[in-house]
Symmetry: C2
Subunit: 445 residues, 2 copies
Amino acid sequence: MTDELSDLIGELVDTTADEQDQVIRQIVATREPEEVALLLESLPLAVRLDAWSKVPADDKLDILLTMRGDPRESLLDNMTLQELDALFDGMAAEDLVELSESLPRRMVDRALWVMDEQQRHYFEGAKQYRDDQIGRWVSHELLVLPTNARVRDGMRLLRRELPDYVDTVFLVNRAGHFSEAVRIGKIIASPDHLPLVDLSEDVFTVLEGQEDSVDASVKVQQSGFSALPVVDDTGKLLGRIDVGTAGELVNTYYEGQLMAGAGMDENEDLFAPVVKSARSRALWLGINLLTAFMASWFIGLFEATLQQVVALAVLMPVVASMGGIAGSQTLTLIIRGLAMGQVTSANLKALAKKELSVGGLNGVLWAIVIGLVASVWFGSPVIGVVIALAILVNIVAAAFSGIAVPVLLDKFKLDPALSGSVVLTTVTDIVGFVAFLGLGTLLLV
Amino acid sequence: MTDELSDLIGELVDTTADEQDQVIRQIVATREPEEVALLLESLPLAVRLDAWSKVPADDKLDILLTMRGDPRESLLDNMTLQELDALFDGMAAEDLVELSESLPRRMVDRALWVMDEQQRHYFEGAKQYRDDQIGRWVSHELLVLPTNARVRDGMRLLRRELPDYVDTVFLVNRAGHFSEAVRIGKIIASPDHLPLVDLSEDVFTVLEGQEDSVDASVKVQQSGFSALPVVDDTGKLLGRIDVGTAGELVNTYYEGQLMAGAGMDENEDLFAPVVKSARSRALWLGINLLTAFMASWFIGLFEATLQQVVALAVLMPVVASMGGIAGSQTLTLIIRGLAMGQVTSANLKALAKKELSVGGLNGVLWAIVIGLVASVWFGSPVIGVVIALAILVNIVAAAFSGIAVPVLLDKFKLDPALSGSVVLTTVTDIVGFVAFLGLGTLLLV
């Protein structure tokens, strides 16, 4: 797919204006909406808007729904009221839930105004939940029957058009509470008069609306079923989450984790307007600057030493950088463990013992190597000893912080994937500089 | 799920030895294999092996199949030949494909020896493909009918037990070549005598065995179907990839990307043996050390300057660190774009222009801020000018490298997620130090 997409981008950029209309129509007709969305995201802003104006109106909604937040906004912002109204016409609740993230409030109201009553009701139900709760993302295309239904009722239902990703029929009691799930395969294979409850699954996961959306999506992926039901806190069936939606939520989560490492989010637009992009990144640079100045301030404490032994200034980055790398290895492992629920108070001590041992071993190894190189380079065994000790201290401290920092951040409900590495490198920088320059002051001055 | 898992870990660690047997059996009986696998991964090695010995033999295979590589190996290595034979008994080809990554060759042969001929044939077919090709991961639980079959044949097939994630029947010609797909829903709703080909899907994606496994998995996730067929280069049907397998492959890919940032891979065991873990991380520390020494060497060129103006030594980390952060923002965006096929020669120039503009804007902003702070701190406007210019140069250079480094690595078939940030920070460190100390030498000495 990636190769094909690259080809399409090339094709679109190289096309003359007259042919473009034709090319875009053909792409939209033969590709999945997800591919067209990725393609549009890959176009510089002006080309993107131009291309968007040539996408047939009927295809626009599906493409917008799968697009990342920021590029989607770039398109929605440039659509006329008339175009938006066409988009809203006959829109399902779950589509508006998705789009409402990128629409101003008054446009959402406009969309609600033309929406049919049932869908508006669904929309308001979904909005009861936060966007990190699974209740927000349910779909309402369900196969539902009352608990006293029989196989023949099931077959009648199945003969109407089946929604995507359906492998069970949900049985619901009179109060609308979810009760059982019956596999379609079993309905097809059973005699007409059998009650469906006799065929229902013994073990079947039911999701609750306020569950974390990623955890719940992973449950769907692991269930082996194409979709799981979602209920509210009274047990009333709200809708379902299918493997398609679950996959999107999990992929978005992972993209978010990857982008968070650089202080960005998963909605970042490849071709965001320059000023907008500069502004959103400036904050992260500013936070980093504060921590860098902090490290500098600690170095400043040792100005006199640095003046006398300039070799220390030359070697400083080695100490800081080895600590940063060792710490980030532990950090990465712990962040993954925390996200999966694998790191908890019960195994934290054992984990710390293991990581400190690993740190100790690598600390000794690299202390020796770096100590030898430094003493040869500067012709001074004492410099070798100073840097060797500093490296050992910093790598062990890095292992400790690699566990402590994410665990504490997580306890304070801060995302370790976002702020973990900034805090960690601040610690390893400061510990490294102070250990190195402090030992240097003691042994060399 | 994450909370529940944490509770289970606590439960298992706090249990006395006599109760453990009972607790484990109960967990295995009521949880998905994926959850049990995550739980076992979260236990220190000795506890893990102890718990594993109490897992009923019949449940072991499913748990092993969903476990990450390294922890799985820790369990397999400690199983007796007898236990392994029980595991191999009646094993499906796709299970052995998965396990064979963690088994020594002679154990794979042993498993093949007891495998039935059809499954052995499938296994050898899968092994024709590399593990980054989708052909390696196909399953063989298919609903297949000849191209001349009718609805009544379809219904007969559906009345047997349906495999998980099946929403279409595949039609195959006499040579075994895939021809069409028919939705189950349409078969159920149509009269008995109708030829199935009349009901087949107009647009249906067929995967080829040698396609990239992640790209192909994304296609499955985007298709809206529960599974897509995979064919070899002659068009012969090899099997299918369902949304379950696709989700696992995509999640593993993302985990790999996240771990690669710290020079590790997705198989890393939370409780790997200390020596093994230290060894695997030492390589990454060694590579980093080389780059750190390189940066030091450049600093060393300016020893005389540093001796005269020690403020430069104090401020060095600020210049390097701002460049590193700005560069990693661009790098992260480009790595994601490359992975999705969104960055290509056709839009590279526009992308570079945008990133350089963003870099220029943030460069000017932070140059002014840092220049002012430094000139006040050290009471020297010239130091302010020196660091301001160095920051501007380094942030712009970082934006440029943030694009050039991953694009070049990708061109040479190296994974930018693994080596991108090491190469990038080497560039930003060196550019930063040379610009800063070079300007310092010119203007301050």
